[in-house]
């Protein structure tokens, strides 16, 4: 991704550099060549539509290349690959909290292996922040009240800056961290250290503790929709609309159950707004997602080779 962005950047730099040089040269040459001389008068020219059209159309065509190329890169940036490793991120004044699917938690430091697509699923507890890793050329604002997503694919081991790029109050400039990119084996070693509970397992426990499981049963008898395999699917709503059951939809359904009722069900679910933390919410979302990743309901599924949309 970084290479694509740099390639476009260099292309833009060269093209606009040439334009700049051309204009500067013309200005300078005219300024010297047509400086005031005794007895010589300016030659009046009204203009030329042909020229004007030329120097509108040619730049316009170049601009369209800028647009299209940039749009293609952006489109890729906004579409994380299906089998990415997922890291749930909670931003708050003024720190980054990460939670891996395997259950590792980190603050202001993010460990990732080389060669894996990593998808950041991010939300904020307070104000708007922005997740910015200059080395990977990615940036995404992190908003309170919803998820935003960014992804990257690190190719070189090392430690990289992580910045908050959206002004977020007093210690905005202190909301920095680092991304540690490791060789896969080092990463496995780092991972193995904890004996952590995978995020989806945490979520499954919460799912039981909060009583979700009494209605959202894994058969067709529940009072709530069966959640197995719903993630990523289109859901038909009671008012006839359809939505994609993505992270934001699951989040909204937990916090505001009445907002988008699935067709054929009654709006009987109580709200969990203000009752669970962002971290618990993330765990629940991770659990619901895990239900779609393995037919057996196996949790924490990360290397699902079969996962297809």
């Amino acid at each position: 991704m970084a290479n694509n962005v740099d390639a476009l950047y260099i292309f833009l730099l060269v093209v606009s550099g040439m334009m700049t040089v051309a204009i500067f040269t013309m200005v300078l040459v005219f300024a010297v060549r047509y400086r005031k001389r005794p007895g010589q008068r300016a030659e009046q020219i009204d203009g030329s539509h042909a020229l004007e059209i030329t120097w509108s159309l040619i730049p316009f065509c170049i601009f369209m290349v800028f647009f299209a190329w940039g749009a293609i890169i952006f489109f890729q940036e906004r579409k994380p690959p299906q089998d990415s490793a997922e890291v749930y991120t909670v931003a708050k004044q003024w720190m980054w909290k990460f939670e891996h699917m395997e259950g590792q938690r980190e603050i202001n430091e993010l460990h990732v292996p080389i060669g894996r697509d990593v998808k950041m699923i991010m939300t904020s507890q307070d104000v708007i922040h922005s997740f910015f890793i200059p080395a990977f050329r990615i940036k995404q604002d992190v908003l309170p009240g919803r998820y935003t997503v960014a992804w990257f694919h690190a190719t070189k081991a090392g430690t990289y800056h992580l910045f908050c790029a959206e002004y977020c109050g007093t210690m905005h400039s202190g909301m920095v961290g680092s991304v540690v990119v490791m060789e896969p084996k080092d990463y496995e070693a780092w991972m193995g250290g904890g004996g952590n509970q995978p995020l989806a397992v945490t979520g499954e426990k919460l799912f039981t503790e909060l009583g979700c499981v009494t209605c959202h049963r894994s058969d067709t008898q529940g009072r709530g929709p069966n959640l197995v395999s719903i993630f990523g699917k289109l859901v038909l709503l009671e008012d006839g609309r359809t939505v994609v059951a993505d992270e934001n939809y699951i989040r909204e359904s937990i916090l505001q159950p009445g907002a988008k009722i699935v067709n054929g069900f009654k709006p009987i679910m109580p709200t969990f707004q203000g009752q669970i933390s962002d971290e618990q919410l993330n765990a629940l979302v991770a659990y619901v997602k895990s239900l779609s990743q393995a037919p057996s309901g196996q949790t924490g599924g990360r290397k699902m080779a079969t996962a297809t949309p």
């Binding site: 200005v27 001389r37 009046q44 952006f74 940036k139």
Partner: protein
């Protein structure tokens, strides 16, 4: 005050017609109001500039050691708010536009002189609120007031700052209203639309933006104030609101606001380039249409400030595409100015030096805008110093250069005195060099990834060298800005009396005495010539003294 310029017993001008504070504070003469504005915006310019210098000094070293984090946040916030709303937006329209538009179209005053005075008082009330905010400890929302930070999380004077800008906004609306009606209704016989100086066209286009954009900012700030006072939830995600709605409404005005700043500058440059090339403008129609085109298309691009903010992918693509449409008329303007010089008879007086600078810096600012409009690159460079550099190239490199160029060009008309040409050229050079030294390194910093609004970058010492360069440049720039103020003041007393038309320039404003009488024209002028009729003007520019 400039009342002491002329000795009594001389020809009556707008300056010496009446004396005393009251004759200024209650004046309805557009020229006097322009001078009231000149004094007030200069005051705010130096306040904003002072904040800028403190910012640059803080960034000299990576650690946050000169001021506290909160202080730094207030500095860049108030630098932005003061400069944008109290200098950049009113500067050219309210000073030069106010002074010149009626004269350029052959009118005795603007259509609504009392509204014009009211507009200045609103500016002063807004400015007083801003000063109150500053003196009471300031505000640290960033000039953009992003919610929910500004509404729920900060303990500074957000309400007074918001109201200050709200009131100043109405000043801007009234100025725009006056210009539109004046341009439509007050033109002298024979002054057809195709004979209007581009300066007037530029202000007409600017006024459209002021009229149709500013109210949206006003209501947005009002909502922010209500949010802050009553916690309604309209922009607060914790209460079901959408912070992006604030950004949409804010940028609906604040992107076109950039054109409020730059379009009048483009008008000035057109006048200057023609005069000092002794030529008619290349492609008058295209130039006028480009101004209107920028004003209209400028309203279709605002969400390019929000590509990474969480808006829909498809909306982002639409806004990126539309952003390139606004680049076309800008490109036309640059090419046409350059072509105007072709086969001219060019002299290098101070205003022309500023015009050269403007064309160069505006080109660079505009082209880096293309980088930001390109989605793939914007993701990386938005909210970094790349953006800071880009908009300073447009606003300072573009607008301030044009403003200074215009001030030098029309100073003889305004004050009746010549400024010292040698000092003028020196200051122009200092501004150009200082500006590039300050802001060019920031493009590189931005691509390296330095986020804007960072008080402390001790985690990234590699940013320091470029920051040192930038701070060094800022000191040069500061000298370049102080100099003109000193010699303008000096020239009011000691400058050579200016002839009516020191540059042998075309245009009605050069046919009235310097300084003009109160009602501009003793008799109603009738226009029988095209704009920029330099072929009909016999004399060349007098060689500088």
């Amino acid at each position: 005050m400039a009342t002491a310029v002329l000795q009594s017993g001389e020809r009556e001008t707008y300056l010496n017609k009446e004396y005393g504070i009251k004759s200024w504070l209650l004046t309805v003469d557009h020229k006097r109001i322009a001078l009231l504005y000149l004094v007030s915006i200069t005051f705010f310019f130096f306040i904003g500039g002072f904040f800028a210098l403190l910012i640059r000094l803080e960034l000299l070293t990576p650690a946050g050691d000169l001021v506290q984090a909160d202080t730094y946040n207030k500095l860049f916030t108030m630098h932005g708010q003061v400069m944008v709303f109290f200098f950049l937006i009113p500067a050219v329209p309210a000073v030069l536009g106010n002074f010149l538009i009626p004269i350029m179209i052959g009118a005795r005053d603007l259509a609504f002189p009392r509204v014009n005075l009211l507009s200045w008082y609103l500016y002063i009330i807004g400015g007083a609120l801003m000063l109150y905010t500053i003196l009471n400890g300031g505000v640290d929302t960033g000039w953009t007031f992003y919610t929910p930070l500004s509404t729920e999380f900060l303990n500074t004077h957000v309400v007074t700052a918001g109201l200050a800008i709200f009131v100043a906004g109405f000043s801007s609306i009234l100025t725009g209203l006056n210009f539109v009606v004046t341009t439509h209704r007050m033109r002298a016989p024979g002054m057809t639309w195709s004979r209007l100086p581009l300066f007037v066209w530029a202000h007409y286009a600017t006024s459209i933006i002021q009229l149709l954009g500013t109210p949206v900012l006003a209501i947005t700030l009002l909502l922010v104030v209500c949010e802050r006072l009553f916690h309604l939830g309209i922009f607060n995600p914790a209460l079901g609101g959408d912070p992006l709605l604030f950004q949409h409404l804010f940028w609906f005005y604040s992107h076109p606001a950039v054109y409020i700043m730059i379009l009048p500058g483009m008008g000035i440059i057109s006048e200057i380039v023609c005069c000092f090339s002794r030529k008619r403008i290349f492609g008058y129609t295209a130039m006028a249409l480009a101004l209107l085109g920028i004003a209209v298309v400028g309203f279709l691009v605002w969400a390019h400030h929000m590509f990474v903010a969480g808006i829909s992918l498809y909306a982002a693509m639409i806004f990126s595409l539309l952003s390139y449409f606004v680049a076309v008329p800008s490109a036309i303007k640059v090419f046409n100015w350059t072509s105007t010089m072709y086969k001219g008879s060019i002299t290098y007086q101070t205003p022309m030096l500023y015009a050269f600078g403007f064309i160069g810096l505006f080109t660079m600012g505009g082209l880096t805008g293309l980088f930001l409009a390109s989605l793939g690159i914007d993701v990386h460079v938005t909210d970094t110093y790349f953006v800071v550099a880009h908009f300073h190239y447009i606003m300072v490199g573009g607008m301030v250069m044009a403003y200074l160029g215009g001030m030098h060009f029309w100073w003889p008309k305004i004050s009746g005195r010549m400024y010292p040409e040698g000092w003028g050229r020196l200051a122009a050079l200092l501004v150009f060099v200082g500006f590039n030294l300050t802001f060019f390194p920031q493009f590189i910093l931005g691509y390296m990834g330095m986020p804007r609004r960072y008080w402390d970058y001790s985690h990234s010492p590699e940013f320091q060298i470029l920051n040192v360069l930038s701070t060094a440049g800022a000191t040069v720039l500061a000298v370049g800005y102080v100099l003109p103020m000193i010699y303008f003041l000096w020239s009011m007393r000691y400058g050579k009396p200016a002839p009516d038309n020191p540059w042998n320039a075309a245009g009605l404003e050069w046919m009235v005495p310097s300084p003009p009488p109160t009602f501009n024209f003793e008799e109603q002028p009738v226009v029988t010539w095209e704009a920029y009729n330099y072929d009909e003007i016999k004399e060349e520019v007098p060689v500088a003294q």
